[in-house]
C-alpha cells in the first residue's frame, strides 16, 4: 500500500490500444462474414489478427515493458505460451480422429 496509482496525464496508450483492438476485432468479423475468402484463408486471417491483438494488448494495457520484475514476466509469458500450445495443438491432436 502507499503506492499512488493516479494517472496524471490522459491515458493515451489505453485509448489508442482500445481503438486498435476494436479495429482488429471488426476486421476479423469482416473476414469471417463478408470477405468471401476460402475457409483456410479465413482461418489463417483471423488467427493472425488474434495474435496481433494479443501482442497489442500486452503492450498497451498490460505494461509488459514497464515492470521491474522482469524474471516473473518472462516465466509468465513462457508458461502462457506453453499452455496455449498445449491447449490448441493438444486439442487438434486429440480431436483429429473426428476431423
Amino acid at each position: 500500500m502507499g503506492t499512488n496509482y493516479h494517472h496524471e496525464t490522459f491515458p493515451w496508450k489505453h485509448i489508442v490500444g482500445f481503438i486498435l483492438s476494436l479495429v482488429l476485432t471488426f476486421a476479423a468479423l469482416w473476414i469471417a462474414f463478408s470477405s468471401g475468402l476460402a475457409t483456410k484463408a479465413i482461418l489463417v486471417g483471423i488467427v493472425v489478427l488474434a495474435v496481433l491483438q494479443a501482442v497489442l494488448q500486452l503492450f498497451m494495457f498490460m505494461h509488459v515493458t514497464e515492470s521491474d520484475s522482469g524474471k516473473i514476466q518472462t516465466i509468465n509469458m513462457a508458461y502462457s505460451f506453453f499452455i496455449a500450445i498445449v491447449v490448441v495443438a493438444g486439442s487438434i491432436w486429440t480431436m483429429a480422429f473426428v476431423l
Binding site: Y79, V86, V87, G90, S91, T94, M95, A96
Partner: protein, 648 residues
C-alpha cells in the same frame, strides 16, 4: 417458456422445498428486522472488503452448499439402497446427480478452499489485506450469486440434468430442451469469473505483499500451494469461460459449435471441459496438501520434512496437470498414440504426489504428535488418499480404463481423492484456523465425534463402490434389478452415507455449541503454531498486524518464539495504518449479474440487457472512484492492541 412452466410442479419433494425456502426467507427477514440487524448486515458484511470477513462468508456459503449437495447425495443413496426402488424417477435422479456434482465441486469445495485462503494467506505472509480488496469482494459476490442462481433452478424452471460434465449432444437443445442447462451454463460462468479474479488477486498478493525477509523459499507451505493454485486458476479457468460461452451460444442462439449436425463437434465439449476440468481437480487438492502440511508440522512439532522437495513436487504436479486431460475420455476413440501419451503423463503425476506422501510421513517420524481434531483429519487423509491415488493409477492405464470407465470404480476413485483429500482438508483447516476467524475454539470432543462418524462413514460408503464397479454397476443409473447381486453392497454404502450425514450434523451442532460455550482463545496462539498467522490476536484485528513483522526463517513465528522474544510490538514504532474503504458496489454489481443471468436463462433478453447496463454502470462508477481508503490512527491501534494482547 410458458408461465405455467415457470415454477416446477408435480413433485411432493419440490413442494416441500418451496415451503421450506419461503419459510427460511421469511424467518431471516423477520430476525433481521426484529433485532434491527439490517444496518449491521450492510455495514459489516455486504459492503466489507476485509479478507477475513470475505473468507468467513465463503466458508458459510460452502457449508450451506455442503448441506444442499449432501441432501442430494442422501436422496441418491436412498434411491439406490434396494433394487427397483420407486423413490425417485429417472428424470429426478438425473437432476439430482447433476446438481450434486456441480454443487460439490464448484460451490462447496472451491469456496471452502477460497474461504480458507482468504483468511489465512494474508496473515501467513504478514500482510494487512490482499492486493485488491475491492476486487476480492466482487469475486465473492459473483461466486455467491452464481451459486444462488444455480440453486434456484430446481424450483424455478427446472434443474439441469445432463451431469456435472454436461456432455454434448445430451446437454444441447435437441436432447435437453427447457431451461435447466441454461442455468448450468450461465451460473457457472458468473461464479467462474469470480474465481478467475480471485486467482489473479492472490497471485499478486503473494508475489508482491510478503513481509520483509520472507523470500519465496521462506513462504509457509500453505501459501506456496495457494500460489501455484492461482497459476492453475489463471490458466485453466479461461478455457471454461470460453467453453461455457460456446455452450450458451448453442443453447440460446442456436449456434452449432457442439451439435451433431451442421459441422458441430460434440466431442469438442468434452475435450474443452476436461482441459479445464483436470486442472480444476488439482485446484481443489493442492491447497488441501498445503493445509495438511501446516497441520502435520504444527502437531508433530517439527519443521516440515523436505520443504524444497515439497515445493518442487507442487510445481511438478501443476505442470503435469495441464497435460493429462484426455484420461477422462480414453474411450472416446482417439487412437493408440493419443491414449498412450496421456496414459503415461497421468501415471507420472503419481510420482510427485508420492513424494509428498513420504514428506508427511517423515515429518511425523519421531515427532511429538498431538492428536487434535485437525491432526486426526490429516492423519486419516494419508492412507485414504493413497487408496484414491492408487486406483487413479489403475484408471490411468488406457486399456484397462475401457473396463473401469464410468463404472462405480471411477466413482469410488474420485470420492477417495476429493473427500479424503479436499473435504478432510477443509475440516482440518476449519478446526485449525477457527480461533483466527471467531476468537473461540471449535469443541474438540464434538470435533472428534464428527471425525470418527464421517471418516468411518466415508469408508463404509465408498469402499464397496470399488467392488460394485468391478461387478459391473455403472454410474448414473437410477435403479437396477434384483438379480444382479449388487444389493448387499449398495445397502452397506447407504449406511455409510447416513453415517456421514450424522457426522455433518454433529459438525453443525459443534459450530452452534462452540459459539455459545466454546473456549475463548486469549493467546492468539492456541496450538503453539509456527507461522505468522499465530502472531496475531484471535480474532484478528481489522488491520492484522500493528507493525509488519520481520521474517528471518521459514517457520517465522516459531523462530521468534525460540529466540525468546515472541512477536514484539514497540508502541513507539506504530504508524497510522492505511486501510481500504468498504464499498457496496461489488454487492450491487453482483445482484445485477444475477438478474442478467436470470434473464439469459429464460431468454428474457430485455431483462438481461437492462441488468447488463447496470453492470457496466457499476464498472464506470468504479473507474471514477477517487476513494483512497482511510487511516487508522495510532491511538486507536494502541487501544485495540492493549485490549487484545495480554500484557507480559
Amino acid at each position: 417458456m410458458k408461465w405455467s412452466e415457470f415454477f416446477v410442479t408435480g413433485e411432493p419433494l419440490i413442494y416441500a422445498a418451496d415451503v421450506s425456502i419461503v419459510l427460511t426467507v421469511i424467518g431471516i427477514v423477520f430476525i433481521l428486522t426484529y433485532f434491527k440487524k439490517w444496518k449491521w448486515l450492510w455495514d459489516e458484511w455486504l459492503t466489507t472488503v476485509d479478507h477475513k470477513k470475505i473468507g468467513v462468508m465463503y466458508i458459510i456459503s460452502a457449508v450451506l452448499m455442503l448441506f444442499r449437495g449432501g441432501v442430494d447425495a442422501l436422496l441418491m443413496r436412498a434411491q439406490l439402497t434396494a433394487p427397483n426402488m420407486k423413490f425417485l424417477d429417472s428424470q429426478h435422479y438425473n437432476e439430482i446427480f447433476t446438481t450434486h456434482g456441480t454443487i460439490m465441486i464448484l460451490f462447496m469445495a472451491m469456496p471452502f478452499i477460497i474461504g480458507l485462503m482468504n483468511i489465512v494467506v494474508p496473515l501467513q505472509i504478514g500482510a494487512r489485506d490482499v492486493a485488491y480488496p475491492y476486487l476480492n469482494a466482487l469475486s465473492f459476490w459473483l461466486f455467491f450469486v452464481g451459486a444462488m442462481l444455480f440453486n434456484i433452478a430446481f424450483v424455478i424452471g427446472g434443474s439441469p440434468d445432463a451431469g456435472w460434465t454436461a456432455y454434448f449432444p445430451l446437454a444441447g437443445n435437441e436432447f435437453s430442451p427447457g431451461v435447466g442447462n441454461n442455468y448450468y451454463a450461465v451460473a457457472l460462468q458468473i461464479s467462474g469469473i469470480g474465481t478467475l479474479m480471485t486467482g489473479i488477486n492472490f497471485l499478486v498478493t503473494i508475489l508482491k505483499m510478503r513481509a520483509p525477509g520472507m523470500t519465496l523459499m521462506r513462504m509457509p507451505m500453505f501459501t506456496w500451494t495457494i500460489l501455484i493454485t492461482c497459476v492453475l486458476i489463471i490458466f485453466a479457468f479461461p478455457v471454461l469461460t470460453v467453453a461455457l460461452a460456446l455452450m450458451t451460444f448453442d443453447r440460446l442462439f442456436d449456434t452449432q459449435f457442439f451439435t451433431m449436425a451442421n459441422g458441430g463437434m460434440s466431442m469438442l465439449w468434452a475435450n474443452l471441459f476436461w482441459i479445464w476440468g483436470h486442472p480444476e481437480v488439482y485446484i481443489v487438492i493442492l491447497p488441501s496438501f498445503g493445509i495438511f502440511s501446516e497441520v502435520v508440522s504444527t502437531f508433530a512439532r517439527k519443521r516440515l520434512f523436505g520443504y524444497k522437495a515439497m515445493v518442487g513436487s507442487i510445481v511438478g504436479i501443476a505442470f503435469l496437470s495441464f497435460i493429462v486431460w484426455v484420461h477422462h475420455f480414453f474411450t472416446m476413440g482417439a487412437g493408440a498414440a493419443v491414449n498412450s501419451f496421456f496414459s503415461i503423463t497421468t501415471m507420472a503425476i503419481a510420482i510427485p504426489t508420492g513424494v509428498k506422501i513420504f514428506n508427511w510421513l517423515f515429518t511425523l517420524r519421531k515427532g511429538r504428535i498431538r492428536f487434535t481434531t485437525a491432526m486426526l483429519w490429516s492423519l486419516a487423509f494419508i492412507p485414504n488418499f493413497v487408496i484414491g491415488g492408487v486406483t487413479g493409477v489403475m484408471l490411468a492405464m488406457a486399456a484397462a480404463d475401457y473396463q473401469y470407465h464410468n463404472s462405480y470404480f471411477l466413482i469410488a476413485h474420485f470420492h477417495y481423492v476429493l473427500i479424503a483429500g479436499t473435504v478432510f482438508a477443509c475440516f482440518a483447516g476449519l478446526h485449525y484456523w477457527y480461533p483466527k476467524m471467531f476468537g473461540h475454539m471449535l469443541n474438540e470432543r464434538l470435533g472428534k465425534w464428527t471425525f470418527w462418524l464421517f471418516m468411518i462413514g466415508f469408508n463404509v460408503c465408498f469402499f464397496p463402490m470399488y467392488f460394485l464397479g468391478l461387478m459391473g454397476m455403472t454410474r448414473r443409473m437410477y435403479t437396477y434389478s434384483a438379480g444382479l447381486g449388487w444389493t448387499p453392497l449398495n445397502v452397506v454404502a447407504s449406511v455409510g452415507a447416513a453415517l456421514m450425514g450424522i457426522g455433518f450434523l454433529v459438525l453443525c451442532y459443534n459450530i452452534y455449541y462452540s459459539a455459545r460455550y466454546g473456549e475463548r482463545d486469549m493467546t492468539g496462539d492456541p496450538w503453539d503454531g509456527r507461522t505468522l498467522e499465530w502472531a496475531t490476536s484471535s480474532p484478528v484485528a481489522h488491520y492484522n498486524f500493528a507493525v509488519i513483522p520481520e521474517v528471518k526463517d521459514l517457520d517465522a513465528y516459531w523462530e521468534m518464539k525460540k529466540s525468546g522474544k515472541g512477536f514484539e510490538m514497540d508502541e513507539e514504532k506504530l504508524k497510522p495504518i492505511h486501510m481500504p474503504s468498504n464499498s457496496g458496489r461489488p454487492f450491487l454489481i453482483s445482484i445485477a449479474f444475477f438478474f442478467a443471468g436470470f434473464g439469459l436463462v429464460f431468454k428474457w433478453f430485455t431483462l438481461a440487457i437492462i441488468a447488463a447496463v447496470f453492470i457496466i454502470l457499476g464498472l464506470i462508477l468504479r473507474s471514477f472512484d477517487d476513494d483512497d481508503g482511510y487511516y487508522i490512527s495510532v491511538d486507536e491501534i494502541k487501544r485495540t492492541e492493549r485490549l487484545t494482547r495480554k500484557e507480559a
